[in-house]
Amino acid sequence: MGNYLLKRTLHLVPTLLGISLISFFLMQLAPGGPIDQMADLNPRVTPEVKARIQKDLGLDQPILVQYGRWLKRIVLFDFGISLKDNRPVIRKIGERLPATLLLNILSIGLALLLAIPIGFFAAIKPRSLFDRLTTVFVFVGFSVPTYAVALLAMIMFGLKLGWLPISGLSSMSWQPLPWWTKGWDIAKHLLLPTLVLGLTSLAGLSRYMRSSMLEVIHQDFIRAAEAEGLGYWRIYGVHALRNALIPMVTLFGLMLPDLIGGGVIIETIFAYPGMGRLGYEAIMTRDYNLIMAVTVISGGLTVMGNFLADLLYAYVDPRIRYR
């Protein structure tokens, strides 16, 4: 185990380095410089002013020097300041990360809550009516563009029925309220984005669960258990299910970048203050330091997530270590 751990840790280094390289050189594709957005054709910004700002930001240096300097800084978690508001980038990300994690954990939780039983029952009776209906259902959910679902939900539950707020994270209210009222208010705001985001990962998760379960069912130990005459529920509900859930662990690492990315649209439409929207807005305003930091940090998080998932997997399924 120790050996595996060491090997796995060493793997992290080139991966993280690669992520930083891609993040940095992605920026070099941009025509013009980062200050274009704030200065272009604004008669009040003369070329001299531009040159001065450029120099202040170190953008007049050769590209490799810039990369080297940047890499040196990010190792110490110094991602520079945002060109938009002169604030440390790391703090801006720090503000968004909890919101993104909250939304993602809730929606993964919701998706799992639905996906596991759907996959489980679909696998026990493959090609049954239940299997087919759920297949169609999860794929319909997956096949509609998210923002269409989101807008439809907003109109239905927000505008027409008035059950839920349309966007934002909390209501405007300044009376001293007990914490449960405030909590309920936030919960209501979170419900729609969670549902919509969860819907998109439901298809993948439930299909994965189904095939994982099918694979287990066909394995010898289940047959053996059946031969031994163990009860139906004991075999499927306990032994098979447990084994089918193990590979799901590895899925989390793979899902993370998709979730942060999926946030771009969900967060924009629900006016939710998360990482996806931060990254998107940074790209559109060419906030160099921020774009690089968002890609590096979300990449780094994914790498760490995968790392933990692998360790967990190795822990629950010892065979893996010897592969």
Binding site: D36, K84, N86, I166, M172, P176, A271
Partner: protein
């Protein structure tokens, strides 16, 4: 506070002298007789929830360069002067001013007894400090060029500020509308990254209370405001990045004000059950500009012919649904500099063809205009991400096709467009727009000296007469004289046609009906925001005051 900036496309945000002007949009009227509601008549309380596409960046008037920050800073800070509803400069933090030595010296007399939101007194030191920061090369301000001609700023006493210019500079007075920042707050620490940029202390009608990044900014009425406490207790600036969601929120009454598209403005009335719609001319215009150094467009008769061939009224009707006005010259319609005496060129394709024939362009058997065996064709460029400009290009393309001119439309990414094509004068014709300040000085766009790379006379317009007038206008403080000069500039440029001026779109806004006081004026809508109020019975937000 209505111009929203749009993160997805920088080009869609107005350009030009945009930011400086923004200052004056929100500030309230000084002279009580101008307003329908005098103090004591309105009822206090309630909150006003505004919506914006993008979040603010820096709540510091010296540093900010986006409209969201400008919206907030306009409520929190004051300048020495401001525009009244009729776009006339009046005192703000300055009670009065004198211009002496033929315009080289401006002496501001500051109001006494004004306090910063933290209780400290406002004095001439703060003005001096703000000026120093504007001129400090380490400060990332986009406004330093406004103050380049200032020789010195001194404070003979705590309530007098004397500004000396190197040369007479009439737009200089308006530049003192720049929000004044407190010295005692910024005194220490780095100005660019100072924490107060996110928790500003100003002198304005509203005090900063809370900023939840990308969610909302909350302001609270300043009870000690020198013109009296605003009626609306709280101002909320909600960030809702998607405009269709903003519209849903408006219908749901969760926001009280929203900027509308022409289609939304014209949507059926039931949608606006709780909101009232307002419409007023903006300070932007869209134009079809030529590269005057290009052989094809050198002859002004050709440009005139093209102007006859473009039906500008149908453009206004089709593109902004009639919610705008066609214009004849380089000023916004509401500006005092706009010369209403200039007659618009009529839509007359026959005349257009005749003029072109005069220049040697004759139609061949297929109706294509030819001269010396070459067809009349050119590329019309505009930047990507601005729907209106793309539409205008397509309409121009269709209309010129009717008289036998072949136009290719090219839509180019913003940065490339500016640096590879505009700056290098590597274009034939363009569709672009300007958003202008309240001061009409447009020397930078039309003076012949402003043609270098990165400057704004990229069409290459040169007219010695106009050059003289522009310089003279900069040196003339007397409004009537200055106006006369700009009227001459307008008439001359309208005749020379370096651009075909297309139209000036209207600003379209909806505001919740419970608010009394919104009134459209030349300056816009929110000029008297401090005097808006909602009757107690209709107020939607109960605000319990902390002791």
């Amino acid at each position: 506070m209505k111009d929203k900036h749009d993160i997805p496309s920088p080009a869609e945000r107005g350009r030009g002298c945009r930011v400086r002007a923004r200052w004056f949009i929100v500030v309230c009227a000084l002279i009580p007789t101008f307003s329908r509601f005098t103090a004591g008549e309105g009822e206090y309380g309630d909150a006003y929830v505004d919506a914006s596409i993008g979040d603010a960046s820096l709540l510091n008037p010296v540093l900010l360069s986006d409209s969201a920050s400008g919206d907030i800073a306009g409520l929190v800070f004051n300048g020495l002067v401001k525009y009244d509803k009729n776009i006339q400069l009046v005192g703000d933090l300055a009670e009065s001013w004198e211009i002496s030595k033929g315009g080289l010296v401006i002496t501001f007399h500051l109001r006494k007894g004004i306090r910063w939101h933290d209780g400290q007194s406002f004095t001439a030191d703060d003005v001096l400090f703000t000026y120093e920061k504007l001129r400090d090369p380490k400060v990332h301000t986009p406004y330093s060029s406004d103050f380049e001609d200032v020789a010195s700023v001194t404070a003979p006493d705590a309530y007098t500020v004397r500004v000396t210019y190197r040369k007479r500079f009439a737009p200089g007075l308006a530049s003192w509308g720049m929000g004044i920042v407190p010295k005692h707050i910024y005194g220490n620490g780095d100005f660019n990254t100072h924490p107060a940029n996110r928790a500003p202390i100003g002198t304005g009608p509203y005090r900063f209370k809370e900023w939840k990044t990308d969610q909302y900014i909350l302001l609270e009425a300043n009870p000690d405001y020198f013109e009296g406490k605003p009626y609306i207790q709280r101002y909320v600036y909600r960030i809702i990045p998607d405009s269709s969601v903003q519209f849903l929120e408006m219908r749901n009454q969760s926001i009280d004000s929203i900027t509308l598209t022409p289609d939304q403005y014209k949507a059926y009335d039931a949608i606006f059950e709780h909101h009232q719609r307002f419409r007023y001319p903006s300070f932007k215009y869209v134009y079809f500009g030529f590269n005057l150094k290009n052989d094809l467009f050198k002859d002004s008769r050709i440009r005139r012919a093209l102007a006859y061939a473009i039906d500008r009224q149908s453009m206004v009707n089709g593109i902004v649904l009639g919610l705008g006005q066609s214009i004849t010259g380089p000023f916004p319609v509401t500006s005092w500099a706009y010369n209403t005496a200039v007659e618009p060129l009529p839509y007359d394709p026959v005349k257009a063809k005749a003029l072109l024939a005069e220049c040697g362009w004759k139609p061949d058997s297929n109706g294509h205009l030819m001269k010396g065996g070459k067809p009349f064709s050119f590329t019309l460029m505009t930047n990507q991400g601005n729907k209106v400009r793309q539409l205008c290009s397509e309409v121009i393309q269709q209309q010129l096709k009717k008289i036998g001119i072949d136009v290719t439309v090219r839509i180019i990414e913003w940065s490339t467009f500016i640096h590879q094509y505009i700056d290098k004068k590597n274009f034939e014709a363009i569709v672009m727009g300007w958003q202008l300040g309240r001061d009409p000085d447009n020397y930078m766009m039309w003076h012949s000296s402003q043609q270098k790379e990165g400057q704004y006379n990229f069409c290459g317009y040169e007219n010695p007469q106009v050059d003289r007038w522009l310089v003279e206008a900069r040196e003339t403080f007397e409004l009537k004289e200055r106006q006369a000069l700009y009227h001459k500039v307008h008439a001359q440029i309208a005749g020379d046609l370096p651009y075909i001026f297309l139209y000036c779109p209207d600003e379209l806004v909806a505001i919740h009906k419970r608010f009394r006081g919104p009134e459209v004026a030349p300056l816009g809508l929110a000029w008297n925001f401090r005097e808006w109020w909602a009757p107690k019975g209709e107020q939607r937000y109960r605000i319990e005051m902390q002791p």
